[in-house]
Symmetry: C2
Amino acid sequence: MSRRPGTLHLNAFLMGVGHHEAAWRLPESDPFAHTDVGHFQELARIAERGKLDSLFLADSPVLWNNVGRRPSGALEPTVLLTALAGVTEHIGLIATASTTYNEPFNLARRFASVDHVSGGRAGWNIVTTAGADAARNFNLDELPAHRDRYQRAAEFIEVSRKLWDSWADDAALGDKAAGVWGDQERIYPPRHVGRYFKVAGALNVPRPPQGYPLLVQAGSSEDGKELAARYAEAVFTAQQTLAEAQAFYTDLKARTRALGRDPDGIRILPGIVPVLGGTEAEAHALADELDRLIVPEYAKRQLAITLGISPDDLHLDRELPAELPAEEQIEGAKSRRTLVVALARRERLTVRQLIGRLGGGRGHRTFAGTPEQVADAVEDWWQNGAADGFNVMPPVLPSGLAAFVEQVVPILQRRGLFRTEYAGRTLRDNYGLPRPANQFRADALATSVS
Amino acid sequence: MSRRPGTLHLNAFLMGVGHHEAAWRLPESDPFAHTDVGHFQELARIAERGKLDSLFLADSPVLWNNVGRRPSGALEPTVLLTALAGVTEHIGLIATASTTYNEPFNLARRFASVDHVSGGRAGWNIVTTAGADAARNFNLDELPAHRDRYQRAAEFIEVSRKLWDSWADDAALGDKAAGVWGDQERIYPPRHVGRYFKVAGALNVPRPPQGYPLLVQAGSSEDGKELAARYAEAVFTAQQTLAEAQAFYTDLKARTRALGRDPDGIRILPGIVPVLGGTEAEAHALADELDRLIVPEYAKRQLAITLGISPDDLHLDRELPAELPAEEQIEGAKSRRTLVVALARRERLTVRQLIGRLGGGRGHRTFAGTPEQVADAVEDWWQNGAADGFNVMPPVLPSGLAAFVEQVVPILQRRGLFRTEYAGRTLRDNYGLPRPANQFRADALATSVS
Ligand SMILES: Cc1cc2nc3c(=O)[nH]c(=O)nc-3n(C[C@H](O)[C@H](O)[C@H](O)COP(=O)(O)O)c2cc1C
Ligand SMILES: Cc1cc2nc3c(=O)[nH]c(=O)nc-3n(C[C@H](O)[C@H](O)[C@H](O)COP(=O)(O)O)c2cc1C
């Protein structure tokens, strides 16, 4: 098979002191780092040293679980992104925000502001937020239906794009002599009247450097994939096997093409949890140490929620119950439930084993090995139509990110698979994507980037 | 009269390239600085060099006026505050956010996050947002009634305080050996069910360094003053004369006392627009140059909105119409309307003259003079029961702030009226206010600060 042209893309998914739920218990970890801006600034600097395309902060407007289980709470991500913009120059800055619990005017403005402050490096991971607990923080008694959340999300994006386009790129004139600051004719108020939103006026922030923030999506249900195909420029996804990842990749590119979009305009990044060691044995020893530190009771409760059953129906040393609610019955994270069930059935895992696997990567592909082996794993999926790049999810932070940057990135660079310097200035430049044209300009043309 | 004990407080109100609406037309001004993070970082550094208590960013979720008139749009203030936190160490960071167009969970979290990121320097200027244009950006056809907005504001603050108190200060344990990160018993979910909001769960951010951000208020209507008396720790206000400022000060302190609060727990800061010159003549020349640069048509339209009449009813070279809608009929900014009318009637100003006065400070006290004279003006109000400090509103930025810091602050310091070094670490420390106790802790005691 011939070498695939181009290079791959890498995102650093930053989560507290690591993606493994027991990472905070390691001697090296600061159990309070997850709300410490200095910790994240260090991570951002490491990721930028590795020339990664972007970093990513997940989010949900709810206090998860029992605070006994693991470091709880998180700084609001657009605030944290701004603090990271201040200590970096090139790396893209992506954060999650919910379309279910925000207003388009406020959120579009906040991301536009982060794009301005960072010189064009903002990205928005668009989520609809699963879970009734979040709903109950926003005047609701129950989670809105899955289909409803996705319809609202689509309209939310439409409104947001109208807001970002509500200033022509050349609306500001700054003509001191004439006393005319801007050209009101180049302001395009959305006057949007839809099913979920009415938004009349133009945004009160000029069109941002990137036109609008990079649109990222991470839902893998049917509705999620349709949303991604229509709007997303990058997609995060959890895939366990090469075959599954290929199927997802092929399907999503086809959906994108079917909607008249260039399939290269959407970058697909499966997650990988690289557990690195100098030897295979060292890597596995680290994986085992982490799994031993998991407290299974908390994790069992979380698994029960994902499956839509009671924790009492789960027994640590038995397999999952034979009968489980179907994906159609889940109003929360549909695709996560399906992935978890498939993994457990395929490998005939006990609940305890399943918890170990999920504790490492919450359903993402965990790969323990040497830097060479991790680079091979990355290259394999990239080369074989399963990925345009990867969402790197270090089990322990900062050490796991530093190891990836110092040990795996140089291998990928030597193989010609990854950049050795940043080429452009914006997040879209990093992903090789064009700056979007303004939909309201008759003469609008997408300006292509290097 | 004996010297008033203590010292005064100074806030730098940062607005684009200055509070004078024509400031952007001066040769020294960058007409695009108002959305440039570097400009605000420079201003923050200047204010901190002057040992000012805090800086402040106003806001409204709407694109005001015609963009022809003056630099339009603004970076979202919690994002901008975060960027300013990164380049400063002591100065307090206050921003406006609307209780009418936000959700308590999201906003309480964002301010808590800014407080964490800045090490305890966040303040929230609580506004209810006047104007139908803003309403139309948030699914509404008309501005909600003034009374209704203030009732929602009060409940919004109650919910926010429950959210900030939803973690005990010692809820996080970080006990690695036991595998117990936090104590769930020290998490207090609000379970709030009110007229405007239902918010069930705890905030997903630990209690911030200050307990909660400094609560600031700036509405001067009856409802506004009641809200301030109940909740505010600092109050911004526009007052034109010593007598008016004294009446406002006395009234608000009395209301605060009547509610069982310590009247020293609320700092009252009238605005002052200091137009500085080496001589009085130089100061007046700058004021005149600025007023000459105003384009009156735009300003007339704005004045008509404030007064609730049509622009056609205003004639540049005549006084205001004898008959005007009463304050009761104004659903927007009631107190602003009353102040403007009083100023025009008292000094028998033509519309053109009134526009000149408002163009400088939008109803705030404008004072043109030498540094010595400005220091006298400040001391006079502070000494005579009209102010606990001032909201400094330079007509031109950065030069007007630099002039105040370099020329006026040293005089105030020499007179023993202003600090020469920061004493504490938080915004409340700067204002000499205590860290609030957690309402849900039986053993809670306000910890007093230096
Ligand atoms: C890498 C990755 C990151 C995600 N980050 C978030 C997040 O920050 N917040 C969130 O609510 N959901 C997040 N999700 C979940 C998805 O957005 C989505 O809600 C979930 O996969 C269920 O979507 P579905 O109902 O379309 O299957 C993430 C998913 C993936 C794969
Ligand atoms: C110094 C100062 C700053 C203010 N900043 C804002 C602001 O940022 N956003 C806003 O909507 N209103 C702002 N206001 C207006 C008040 O919050 C209030 O809406 C206005 O005075 C009308 O309030 P009232 O209806 O209680 O009179 C400010 C007022 C003052 C005096």
